[in-house]
């Protein structure tokens, strides 16, 4: 009896992520959603620039590597090429989605582009070695905020779900975390819903996944997971920020 196996939507390529990094968990959750919905053959994924730049090697569906921050625009082009035939998702980090690509993010949401966005928020630029991200916390020490993020000089972190929730456009916005079993289960459910929404033609769904970066946070993997509970979640509360279909049902 098989009790545990790799999802079909993941390839056999060994992942390059650091020990304790949560990208692997989120990759698996995305692949499980694709498997569960039986959509691998018609799914196209868009990889970002950042730590998950090589996600195109790990997902078994067709993949495109986008320029830094442009994944929602690329996804728009793909989705519009075959709106009924393809399921399109982007997988982006905080620098990619909330800094250099903020315009693409906001406008894809405003258009209610029928795509699924997986947003990894670990409050740091991982690939380039730990610089301040748009989501780095006030006071957070990074390579480019060596004395701690000074909000007077660098401004405040961006709460993406809250900000996008002010728009009429997006269908679904939820923030989840992957630092314990309970949260991972909830994250898997949210990601699956984000894909289901696209299949149902409901529109733009973004799942913000609060993740850890033990290497660049300078913590053990265990300590990093605890730091999510202690520091990240208080600043970035988990929950559903927008669910238009549910709101409609309530009003009906």
């Amino acid at each position: 009896m098989i009790v545990f196996q790799k999802p079909h939507a993941l390839t056999d390529a060994p992942m390059h992520y650091c020990p304790g990094c949560t990208h692997g968990i989120v990759h698996r959750l995305v692949a499980e959603a694709i498997d569960a919905l039986g959509i691998e053959g018609k799914t196209v994924g868009i990889a970002p620039v950042g730590c998950s730049v090589m996600a195109y090697n790990y997902f078994a569906c067709d993949m495109i590597e986008a320029a830094h921050g442009r994944a929602p625009a690329v996804a728009t082009g793909v989705k519009r090429s075959d709106p009924d035939g393809l399921v399109v998702f982007t997988y982006q980090g905080d620098g990619d989605l909330a800094s250099i690509g903020m315009a693409e993010t906001v406008h894809a949401a405003a258009r209610n582009e029928n795509i699924t966005v997986i947003f990894i928020n670990n409050a740091i630029y991982g690939m380039t070695g730990g610089q301040m991200a748009p989501t780095s916390l006030p006071g957070q020490v990074t390579q480019t905020s060596p004395y701690g993020r000074d909000v007077k000089a660098c401004g405040y972190p961006v709460r993406v779900c809250e900000m996008l929730a002010t728009l009429d456009g997006p269908e679904y916005l939820e923030r989840v975390a992957v630092n314990n079993i309970k949260n991972i289960k909830a994250a898997g459910k949210a990601i699956r819903k984000a894909f289901q929404n696209q299949i149902d033609g409901k529109g733009f769904s973004l799942i913000e996944v609060i993740s850890s970066c033990p290497t660049n946070w300078g913590m053990t993997p265990q300590k990093a997971l605890e730091w999510i509970d202690e520091k990240m979640i208080p600043y970035y509360p988990l929950g559903v920020y927008k669910d238009r279909s549910a709101a409609k049902e309530e009003n009906a």
């Binding site: 590597e65 082009g77 906001v106």
Partner: protein, 352 residues
């Protein structure tokens, strides 16, 4: 000419693109090319196509990148400042070997510059424009008919060689109306087995990508791309020669500058001056051999440009020191007059 209609150059591009099977247009408003977007906005919804006004030039080219990845004939259009913004996406398209058509209806620069015609994006277009080693095929129409013809040709070449193609026009070419026949010969787009259209679980996944972290592999990819460019250079050079048979003076000009120059050549011939015109239609690949051959006979070359002298470098490389090459130019949205070019032909010297 019963089969011809009067159309603006910009409109001819849009209609020809639709006839060439383009159903995906992504753009952003900028003068003097906005008629293309307006035309697409009107037509695309009626033929099941996509017109999308993107949030930026950057987003627009990346939408083209996406639609091209999915195997569609896709295009964007802009004018000089917008093309600079698209530079990133164009480089990624070149690096990912994606076909696509980018239209640049040039205006004066640098910076925000002006909105009147210019040819000062010659370097940007023919040298790639973005980062890295790559070329675009650059087509330079000189009539509204060629705006239509080169649009179709552009899609064909893009698909044939899996590379982005730029149609390089200017404000005059975009805004002017001329009779145009839309009886265009359209080749069918080739199969695109590399496209990301979903695996249907019937093949391993396709990846559209320009990242290659192993230097040996990236070098190999660049070499392969340049081998392809050599084939393009061999097969796809286009040009027009006008009164070149006995020419002792050779004017080289493209686009609107070539039309002005033609008037000057005709006038000079009436005065008994043996002058001819070479009009490059492909700016990359440049008709180097044609210019080089002309240099066997011609004693003097004049590059006529709406720039401070950009194409002149390619003319000089082709002439290779066999004859002097002079510049005749106007910039900033100004256009040389036939009289100015005639003066340059008859009296020589680099003159503004």
């Amino acid at each position: 000419m019963a089969d011809k209609v009067l159309m603006k150059g910009n409109e001819a591009i849009a209609e020809a693109a639709i006839r060439a099977g383009c159903r995906h247009y992504f753009g952003y408003p900028i003068t003097p090319q906005t008629e293309i977007a307006a035309y697409m906005a009107k037509r695309m919804p009626k033929i099941g196509g996509t017109f999308l006004q993107a949030e930026s030039e950057i987003a627009a080219i990346n939408m083209v990148y996406g639609a091209a990845s999915a195997g569609k004939r896709a295009m964007t259009s802009s004018s000089s400042p917008g093309i600079s913004l698209k530079g990133e996406g164009i480089s990624y398209m070149a690096g990912s070997d994606l076909p696509g058509l980018i239209v640049n209806v040039q205006r004066g620069g640098p910076g925000l510059g002006g909105i009147q015609p210019s040819q000062s994006d010659y370097f940007q277009s023919t040298r790639g424009g973005g980062h890295g080693d790559y070329h675009l095929i650059v087509l330079a129409p000189a009539s509204v008919q060629e705006m239509a013809d080169m649009t179709v040709k552009g899609f064909d070449l893009a698909d044939k060689y899996r590379m982005p193609v730029m149609l390089l026009a200017d404000g005059t070419m975009g805004q002017m109306m001329e009779p145009v026949s839309l009886d265009l010969s359209i080749a069918e787009a080739p199969e695109k087995p590399w496209a990301t259209t979903g695996t249907k679980l019937a093949r391993t996944h396709n990846i559209v990508n320009s990242l290659s972290l192993v230097p040996e592999e990236l070098e190999k990819l660049n070499n392969a791309r340049y081998a392809k460019y050599e084939i393009v250079k061999k097969n796809e050079v286009m040009y027009e020669e006008y009164m070149m048979d006995d020419a002792e003076i050779c004017v080289v000009a493209f686009g609107i500058a070539a039309r002005v120059s033609k008037n000057a050549v005709v006038a000079a011939r009436k005065n008994g001056v043996k002058v001819g015109l070479i009009r490059p239609i492909t700016l990359w690949p440049f008709p180097t051999d044609v210019v080089a051959k002309a240099a066997d006979k011609a004693k003097r070359f004049i590059s006529v440009e709406l720039s401070m002298g950009q194409m002149i470098e390619d003319v000089r490389l082709a002439v290779n020191g066999k004859a002097p090459v002079e510049l005749c130019y106007r910039v900033g949205g100004m256009i040389p007059t036939p009289e100015q070019v005639l003066d340059a032909i008859e009296n020589g010297g680099a003159k503004e």
